[in-house]
């Protein structure tokens, strides 16, 4: 197929050619970035929490009366006993927070007491001797807390933990070249904290973009928060008993002590619900971008079909003449397919620039990551196939124009 005559013909349809090319260019720019956003968000949604999600649920327990630290500790211990006695419950712990709740309690981490710029900004979990076991964390080095290490922390009190269990990600950040076990660091504490254990994965409490540099960097200190406000109970059930235990738990707690508040809306959540809530906006973005991609590709395809059909209608006589002069069905088909290919390639060349341009803008203003080349290549292939697919029907119709058209008046 000779390209020269096709280009010459396109020069006579400048506006239509430019419009199709422009549409393809813009579509490529949007589709690449949308696909990239979708993929990023899906990856975010799939971030591991490190905990046994299938068998965990969380109770946000607020006190209905103002307790002193000592009263709070007693209540908490009583609650833990109550929960542990429920059928189907395997383990119970209490904490100030839990992974992917949506909000982090985080502390700056430094290697020396007077270091200004922190090495990390780690999620700060207060746990007891049951925390690691209950959450189902995988202890890959060192040991768990001993019950006698756990200190109680009242309202705006500061306890000074001397030991901590940290996540592997945090260990690698703090001690990139050596074994973290037995080493020291500071977590806004006046005295050093010794690493006594390392868990494989423990997600932060938040899932925000600001904490992306510290992803997976978490630490647990042997502290029980006993302020007058409240506490989270994290309950691990035996396989298959989650639903039953979730129903029984609040009843048992209220039966034991009525002066508490478990919010009917979000006071009791299975970990599946926790995950669902944490990534709501990510899922929303992925859905929205998918809808836009699909509709956009459909509209672009329809636009190509529309304009090509018009061109075919306009050139019926010309096609008839070509057919009369010996062009085969195949030749005519190829003519239109090649024409579309040329326009697409032109549009895609502009589209690649636009795609990176849009990405740059989103990168600067909205912290989107830099678009990898694979997305642009993928988008290019999708749009080439889309163009060829869209032009197929009008091209087929063109190839069926009978040679007799040549003799009809224009």
């Amino acid at each position: 197929m000779h390209i020269q005559p096709i280009l010459a013909a396109l020069r006579r349809h400048k506006a239509g050619t430019v419009l199709i090319a422009l549409q393809i260019a813009l579509t490529l720019a949007i589709v690449c970035n949308a696909l990239f956003i979708i993929n990023q968000r899906l990856a975010h949604i799939d971030e591991p929490s490190g905990v046994d999600e299938a068998n965990l649920f969380v109770i946000a327990n607020q006190w209905g009366e103002q307790y002193s630290t000592q009263e709070a500790v007693e209540r908490i211990e009583q609650d833990l006993v109550t929960l542990r006695q429920l059928p189907g419950v395997q383990d119970v712990t209490s904490s100030n927070n839990y992974p992917i709740r949506g909000i982090s309690n985080d502390n700056f981490i430094t290697m020396t007491p007077d270091q200004r710029a922190p090495t990390s900004d780690a999620a700060y979990y207060m746990g007891d001797a049951n925390f690691v076991r209950t959450l189902g964390l995988k202890l890959i080095a060192g040991r768990d807390f001993r019950p006698e290490e756990v200190q109680n922390q009242g309202l705006r009190q500061t306890v000074d933990p001397s030991v901590a269990i940290i996540s592997k990600a945090m260990a690698t950040k703090l001690f990139p070249n050596s074994d973290a076990l037995g080493k020291h660091f500071y977590a806004m504490t006046p005295n050093p904290i010794t690493v006594i254990g390392i868990v494989d994965v423990l997600h932060r409490g938040d899932v925000s973009t600001w904490s992306a540099p510290y992803i997976g960097e978490s630490m647990i200190v042997p502290v029980r928060p006993a302020d007058p406000y409240g506490i989270y109970y994290i309950v691990r059930t035996k396989p298959g008993q989650l639903a039953a235990a979730m129903r029984a738990a609040p009843k048992a707690l209220y039966a034991e002590n009525r002066m508490r508040m478990i919010d009917p809306k979000d006071g009791l959540l299975s970990f599946a619900q926790v995950r669902h809530r944490a990534f709501e906006s990510d899922r929303g973005m992925a859905i929205l971008m998918s809808i836009i991609c699909i509709v956009l590709l459909a509209i672009t395809a329809a636009g190509i079909i529309g304009l090509t059909s018009f061109w075919v209608g306009q050139r019926r006589r010309q096609i008839g003449v070509r057919r009369a002069l010996g062009a085969t069905h195949r030749d005519i088909m190829q003519y239109f397919m090649t024409e579309n290919l040329l326009i697409s390639l032109g549009g895609l060349a502009i589209g690649v620039v636009l795609a990176f341009g849009l990405n740059l803008w989103l990168h600067i203003h909205l912290e989107l990551k830099v678009l990898p080349l694979t997305y642009v290549l993928g988008g290019t292939v999708i749009l080439l196939l889309l163009g060829q697919g869209a032009v197929f029907a009008p091209a087929l119709r063109a190839s069926r124009v009978p040679p007799i058209e040549a003799t009809r008046p224009a």
């Binding site: 506006a15 239509g16 419009l19 199709i20 422009l22 549409q23 813009l26 579509t27 949007i30 970035n33 949308a34 956003i37 607020q62 006190w63 209905g64 009366e65 007491p113 200004r116 710029a117 309202l155 705006r156 009190q157 500061t158 806004m188 504490t189 006046p190 007058p228 406000y229 209220y254 009525r258 508490r260 508040m261 919010d263 709501e280 906006s281 899922r283 929303g284 973005m285 859905i287 929205l288 971008m289 836009i292 509709v295 956009l296 509209i299 672009t300 329809a302 636009g303 529309g306 304009l307 018009f310 061109w311 209608g313 306009q314 849009l358 989103l362 203003h365 909205l366 912290e367 989107l368």
Partner: protein, 436 residues
């Protein structure tokens, strides 16, 4: 003539139903995607207090210093010491301090369980500064602040739950075991974004249940349940030491009516910081800011990035739909070049041809707009799938959105038709005669 163009336009649109449907769908989808995302963006980026947004300011003081502050910027809230110093200085017409608290309430029937309630500890100027509307009673005075009175203002919703909506002013309410006197009940008031808590919260969500007199809350050691941020080693132990720490958690606002008052207040913040430096409390030069409401919301990135990205992508999508429409209109109009030539020969001016095709495009735009309305309405019910619930609930269809949808659809389509209609108007009257 206009009605003639409408007749011609409708006739022409009926002749190519597939092409017409395609254009209408492109416009409909494009405009509805833009409108759905815009309705969310509008809700999160609007001015929450338009009549006073340029008179309300956040005094920011760098109490942390270089290396610990936020990349050179002072932190977004005050520690207790600085907050109280500013309150005592009385350098602005009005000032309030705010922090978030959560308390328990016991409904009246004896065997019920306590329920959680959320609110803010504020000073008396809060209500006058922010023009809080009252259903019953009013806020409290600065004298009450100084007297550390046990005063509380309830929100309409909370009053409904606790008192069945009756006038509860003068009655007593027990919150977390302490008694308070109800001095007022607000009307429904939940500025969106909740600018006064932009630093502490997400800026959106259900309205608070109550507003408690700040000094009273502090006296009772009512802890802050909102954001709290500290620097360096944390060494405080207990409430009183916490108040003296460098932790920031009190959100200050001042009301300043004129630019000279603003300048004067900024000078005051500078001189206060300089005093602190001289006294040895700050080891750095004064570093203060005094943003107004809209600047503050911008600085606090109150608009979720999702909302911006989806608006940008949806609008780009709309632009592509319009490019598509330009191409289709061009094809449609130029297919009728013969008819245009005849009309021109019979005496139609270029303007008349131009007008005829713009009217036809406007008809496409209007139909696309109506489809867009339908899709927007459907999309609105699904907006909960796309955004977090507290954001999604802000998006709603109102008259202005309906009007905007139609206007945007028609304007955009007519704009898209300018070039194709211009091309149509350029068709020479001689052309048809010659081609025979």
């Amino acid at each position: 003539m206009f009605t003639y163009y409408i007749q011609l336009g409708l006739r022409s649109l009926k002749r190519n139903p597939a092409l017409t449907a395609l254009m209408v769908m492109a416009i409909g989808f494009g405009v509805s995607a833009s409108m759905i995302t815009y309705s969310v963006f509008r809700a999160v980026s609007g001015n929450p207090i338009p009549e006073k947004s340029s008179q309300l300011f956040v005094p920011e003081i760098d109490s942390w210093g270089p290396g610990l502050n936020e990349k050179g910027e002072p932190p977004g809230a005050l520690n207790y010491v600085d907050a109280m110093a500013l309150m005592r200085a009385h350098q602005s017409k009005r000032m309030t301090l705010i922090y978030q608290i959560g308390l328990s309430t016991l409904p009246r029937d004896a065997d019920s369980v306590p329920v959680a309630s959320n609110g803010y500890a504020v000073t008396g100027d809060f209500f006058t500064m922010f023009d809080v509307p009252f259903l019953y009673g009013s806020g409290w005075s600065t004298a009450d602040d100084d007297a550390r009175a046990a005063d509380v203002v309830l929100s309409r919703e909370f009053n409904q739950r606790m008192f069945g909506g009756a006038n509860s002013v003068g009655q007593k309410i027990t919150l977390s075991g302490h008694d308070y006197r109800i001095v007022g009940v607000t009307k429904r008031w939940n500025p969106s974004p909740r600018f006064y808590d932009a630093w502490g919260g997400s800026g959106f969500g259900d309205p608070p249940d109550f507003y408690l007199l700040l000094n009273r809350a502090l006296d009772l050691h009512t802890d802050n349940v909102g954001r709290n941020s500290c620097r360096g080693a944390i060494t405080y132990n207990g409430w009183d030491q916490y108040l003296q720490s460098n932790c920031i958690w009190l959100m200050p606002w001042v009301e300043l009516d004129t630019t000279s008052e603003v300048a004067r207040y900024r000078n005051f913040l500078e001189s206060y910081s300089a005093d602190q430096q001289r006294a040895g409390r700050f080891g750095w030069a004064p570093n203060v800011r005094l943003p107004d409401v809209m600047t503050w919301l911008d600085v606090q990135h109150i608009v979720p990035p999702e909302s911006r990205i989806s608006l940008i992508v949806a609008m780009s999508f709309f632009i592509i739909c319009l490019v598509n429409t330009i191409g289709l209109l061009l094809a449609k109009f130029m297919r009728r070049a013969g008819e245009i030539g005849v009309r021109r020969a019979l005496g139609a001016t270029r303007h008349e041809i131009y007008a005829q095709y713009l009217v036809e495009a406007a008809a496409v735009g209007l139909t696309g707009g109506l489809l867009g309305l339908l899709l927007t309405a459907i999309g609105m019910s699904g907006v909960g799938l796309l955004f977090e619930p507290e954001i999604a609930q802000l998006a709603h269809m109102d008259l202005s959105l309906i009007g905007l949808t139609l206007v945007v659809a028609i304007f955009a389509t007519v704009a898209a038709a300018f070039y194709p209609a211009w091309r149509a108007a350029q068709v020479q009257p001689a052309w048809q005669l010659k081609s025979n």
